[in-house]
Symmetry: C2
Subunit: 140 residues, 2 copies
DNA sequence: AATGAAACTGAGACTCTGTCTCAATTATAT
DNA sequence: ATATAATTGAGACAGAGTCTCAGTTTCATT
């Protein structure tokens, strides 16, 4: 269903609906969790797509602009994205064993941060909290 | 004073005290706040040093191992380091206008994170909270 | 259906951060 | 003074990402 929304976005911008964009959007929509540009490339290629890295990197900003995905700020040294869902803001717990990403949101945490900013006369705009550790599946 | 400590560390490891290491440690000790490897390189070169990038990158792990500096986890896509101080763990507020980094620590924040981890059966090991925004100097 | 302009594509050059190799140099124990 | 092991800079290399360019494709218009 969301595919049509992206197609509409592309048309409205006067851009063109190409096989490559089609393949990329489909792959993004069917994959779960976080993904990196190169993972997307490898997955598509493994499914027989002839798409190039350049097209992946060119299409990602369009997916972001259309609101279908958003960049995830991670301390990891390359880009990560995730599909945008209703409950937009959340932070992450990342399992260093299996790579699993747990999303969480805490109103008290948000409020606490606000008061800490106030104390420093700092106008907080956005934040990124990443808790690294071991998830219950891996803690044997 | 800390320079001697590093020299002692180097000697104890059976490594050598070279002009390049000397220049690098001195620069790190006199600079304030966070720094990136390439900044260090540019600063040293601008002061007339003939040090190479390779030596910067080779010396940084020694500085970390000696306890003089520590890597800072940032969502920025390259490495950042800071001098190690007494009050070790802290998080950061980063001004998107001037790049200023404000360190802060909050016990309630730490406790709240612990309880959030418990709720997810997640064994938190370390975390990184980065609040991006505008500092009081830049908020005009 | 044919056309044509503008958008798009893949290949590969390029940038940036960081690592590695190698021959020449240097610190240090003797 | 010497030997030897560590260190150095230059430059090749690697991975993520950007950019250019010539050839291709979409799509609105005939």
């Amino acid at each position: 269903m969301e595919k049509q929304e992206f197609d509409a976005f592309i048309s409205k911008k006067g851009l063109k609906l190409t096989r490559e964009r089609d393949e990329i959007v489909s792959e993004v929509l069917c994959c779960q969790g976080h993904f990196a540009p190169d993972e997307l490339f490898v997955q598509l290629r493994s499914k027989g797509s002839k798409v190039s890295r350049a097209s992946i990197y060119r299409t990602i900003p369009l997916l972001v602009e259309s609101g279908l995905i958003a960049e995830v700020e991670r301390t990891d040294k390359h880009a990560h994205y995730e599909k945008v869902s209703k409950n937009s803001h959340h932070d992450h717990m990342i399992c260093t064993v299996c790579g699993r990403v747990i999303e969480f949101y805490s109103k008290p945490l948000e409020r606490l941060q606000e008061s800490l900013c106030k104390r420093e006369n700092f106008k907080g705009v956005r934040h990124c909290l990443e808790i690294m550790g071991v998830c219950e599946n891996c803690d044997g």
